[in-house]
């Protein structure tokens, strides 16, 4: 789950990491009041969970409260990457002399957290990482040991910082690591970490993403709904992983790996998958809800159910989706393929409840569903 910039900055501030003076505004009046309170030129920053806000006009500046009113009025109601702008972060405009990049993430190859520093931050950071990778310092962290200021000193000195800047940023980095660890974050990023003309060092932007697996123990965090289509949002609220695609064959399989392989198979057979929906783990009981959402996708031409029971029993899964289909009664061709634990019982359920003979070979089944989908 991602946090909004203003939420990330509240967390930074609570952990001793300096952020610009600012306030969140939901209306032009609130934006004006915030600008007045700050009493100098302000930045108005759209709060959306999108990547490239700056380039999309999501950050604008105002020198007076009156212009803040006008500009914020123009910003509210626009959208960035398809996401409506409902909140603005109104912040003092910084006089920045240098932009740094500082972040913590996990390195899937090294199987450990890494600290990342680049002496040139800002919007071009990925370009720098590509063209001048030597500039970026990546420092693996032993989780069982932690990341202290002295680790940061070593990393930042390699990145070229010296003297007071070195020790100040090292202190911030140690604090940022604690945020990363204590909040079960997958990612915390300050970009840019702004060295101001006053030589103060301030988190000018902030990004935090929390590990979904840890949300149940991170009780103090806000509950953000991640951006998505209306059906994706519905699925998210129901606790399901659902991604809408622009195809027309609805795919229901068990487990993420088999679901991905089934979509590939449909494509290889000339079909167009309409969705990714995972019903692995304990989600079989949610089959009804999952199918209801998946089948609500417009323009579907067929439904493909592909089950391979490994540690999950196929009869339990079949009970779930046949019950749901008997209730939802979609007027679509349905092709079912079943293999694995208790497969005979599962096939019998499908035959009884849906009047369908299940396939046992998924490739054969995939060819049939594609043929029937585009038959008319």
């Amino acid at each position: 789950m991602r946090l909004y910039e203003f939420q990330a900055k509240q967390i930074f501030a609570a952990n001793g990491i300096p952020v610009p003076e600012g306030a969140i505004a939901s209306s032009p009046d609130e934006a004006t009041a915030a600008a007045s309170k700050i009493g100098k030129s302000v930045a108005l920053k759209a709060q959306v969970l999108a990547g490239s806000r700056g380039k999309a006009g999501g950050v604008r500046f105002a020198d007076t409260p009156a212009t803040a009113f006008d500009i914020s009025q123009a910003m509210f109601g626009t959208s960035i990457d398809g996401l409506g702008v409902r909140q603005l972060l109104v912040e003092e405009k910084l006089a920045i002399s240098r932009e740094l990049y500082l972040g913590f993430a996990m390195d899937r190859s090294r199987q450990c957290p890494v600290a990342i520093f680049c002496p040139t931050g800002g919007m071009e950071i990925e370009e720098i990482a590509r063209t001048a990778p030597d500039q970026v310092v990546v420092c693996p962290i032993d989780s069982s040991n932690g990341f202290y200021a002295y680790h940061a000193i070593g990393m930042l000195a390699r990145g070229g910082l010296r003297q007071k800047q070195l020790t100040t940023v090292a202190g911030l980095a140690a604090k940022l690591y604690r945020v990363y660890r204590d909040l079960d974050a997958e990612l915390v990023e300050i970009n840019p970490l702004a060295v101001c003309e006053s030589s103060e060092i301030v988190a000018a932007d902030g990004r935090i993403a929390i590990d979904d697996n840890a949300l149940s123990r991170q009780k103090d965090l806000p509950k953000n709904v991640m951006p998505g289509t209306p059906l994706e949002t519905e699925a998210q609220e129901a606790g399901l992983t659902y991604v809408e695609l622009d195809g027309d064959i609805c795919v229901l399989a068990n487990g993420a790996g088999l679901t991905l392989a089934t979509m590939d198979l449909i494509s290889a057979c000339g079909g167009r998958p309409a969705n990714f929906i995972e019903v692995g783990g304990g989600a079989y009981v949610k089959a009804r809800r999952a199918l209801q959402i998946a089948l609500a996708h417009e323009g579907l031409k067929a439904l493909f159910v592909n089950v391979f029971g490994a540690f999950a029993r196929t009869d339990v899964i079949a009970d779930g989706f046949t019950t749901a289909l008997a209730e939802l009664k979609p007027s679509l061709p349905i092709v079912v393929c079943i293999r694995g634990t208790e497969e005979e019982a599962a096939r019998e359920l499908v035959r009884q409840r849906l009047g369908i003979i299940s396939h046992t070979e998924m490739e054969e089944a995939a060819r049939e569903v594609v043929a029937r989908a585009y038959a008319s």
């Binding site: 450990c112 990023e189 399989a253 487990g255 790996g257 590939d264 198979l265 783990g281 391979f308």
Partner: protein
């Protein structure tokens, strides 16, 4: 790699519903389960297996080679710490939903103590005809059969489906290792390839991967020195790219991580990459029979 016929197996969280179900399956398959652990149930037995309050007590009773855990994801870290501290060197973490910081801590601690972790979020391991430790349907004869093909899979259901293809193609498995689908896992595809390189019983390797992470890219570099045919299936060719983790993701991972990147590197390294599950069988026959 993770289990052999006579390995002494411990089941942590043995008396729960899942633990009991799979204990029965393992015992039926001939797995040498010597003890179980459930705090507060010390002194009981489960299907004839003695139950202890702590892993330490179970280990003191006579030694444990492998531990497998039926515990909720938020308790996996402590269960793993407990097993590591008791001196167990191979630990299978099945739980789905372990916070990644917990996983990283588990792995760091295991490294320091010389222990090996399989998982989290993995289905365990089968050596067909010998032993099964985990939650794999080892008893299905058209899926698991003794043979010479080493299988390594990030996905439980797809991996099992591919095992079925191996058998349908006329072969069996020397070992099936489910390494798990989490972003951070204790045993990687590369670790499994390294094992199969040394394993005399294994004549070919089937690698089941998927988009995300760089495990297949890391493994591809080893394919030439493996010295045995590798057939790979990478799921997610048609899937939308997974979420990017901020700039950090791009910095760490670069252009790697897509199914395309994995397939290109694997093919360049000499592996045969199947487009569909059925094709795995075709490529395997070609590699084994010629």
């Amino acid at each position: 790699m993770f289990a052999r016929k006579n390995d002494r197996v411990l089941v942590q969280g043995v008396t729960g519903k899942e633990g009991m179900y799979w204990l029965e399956r393992m015992l039926q398959y001939g797995t040498n389960v010597v003890a179980g652990v459930t705090p507060g149930k010390g002194g009981d037995t489960a299907l004839g297996v003695p139950v202890y309050d702590t892993v330490q007590a179970a280990v003191e009773r006579g030694g444990v080679d492998v531990s497998v855990q039926f515990v909720p994801p938020l308790l996996a870290k402590e269960a793993t710490f407990e097993a590591i501290e008791a001196g167990i060197k191979r630990i299978i973490v099945l739980a789905d939903g372990v916070p990644v910081h917990d996983s990283m801590l588990m792995l760091a601690k295991a490294r320091h103590q010389g222990a090996h972790i399989l998982g989290p979020n993995c289905p365990g391991v089968v050596v067909p005809g010998e032993t099964m430790v985990g939650i794999l349907p080892c008893w299905l004869p058209h899926v698991f059969k003794p043979g010479t093909v080493g299988v390594v899979s990030r996905s439980g259901s797809l991996g099992t489906a591919i095992c079925y293809q191996v058998v349908k193609a006329g072969f069996g498995q020397s070992e099936v290792i489910g390494i798990g689908g989490d972003p951070v896992v204790g045993t990687t595809t590369l670790d499994a390839l390294r094992f199969y390189a040394r394993d005399e019983k294994t004549r070919a390797v089937v690698m089941v991967g998927e988009l995300g992470g760089t495990m297949e890219e890391d493994a591809a570099a080893f394919v030439p020195e493996l010295g045995k045919p590798v057939i790979a299936l990478i799921a997610g060719r048609m899937a939308p790219q997974g979420k990017r983790m901020g700039h950090a993701g791009a910095i760490i991972q670069g252009d790697r991580g897509s199914a395309r990147s994995k397939i290109e590197l694997l093919e360049a390294s000499g592996a045969a990459v199947a487009r569909t599950p059925d094709e795995v069988g075709v490529l395997l026959r070609r590699a084994m029979v010629g």
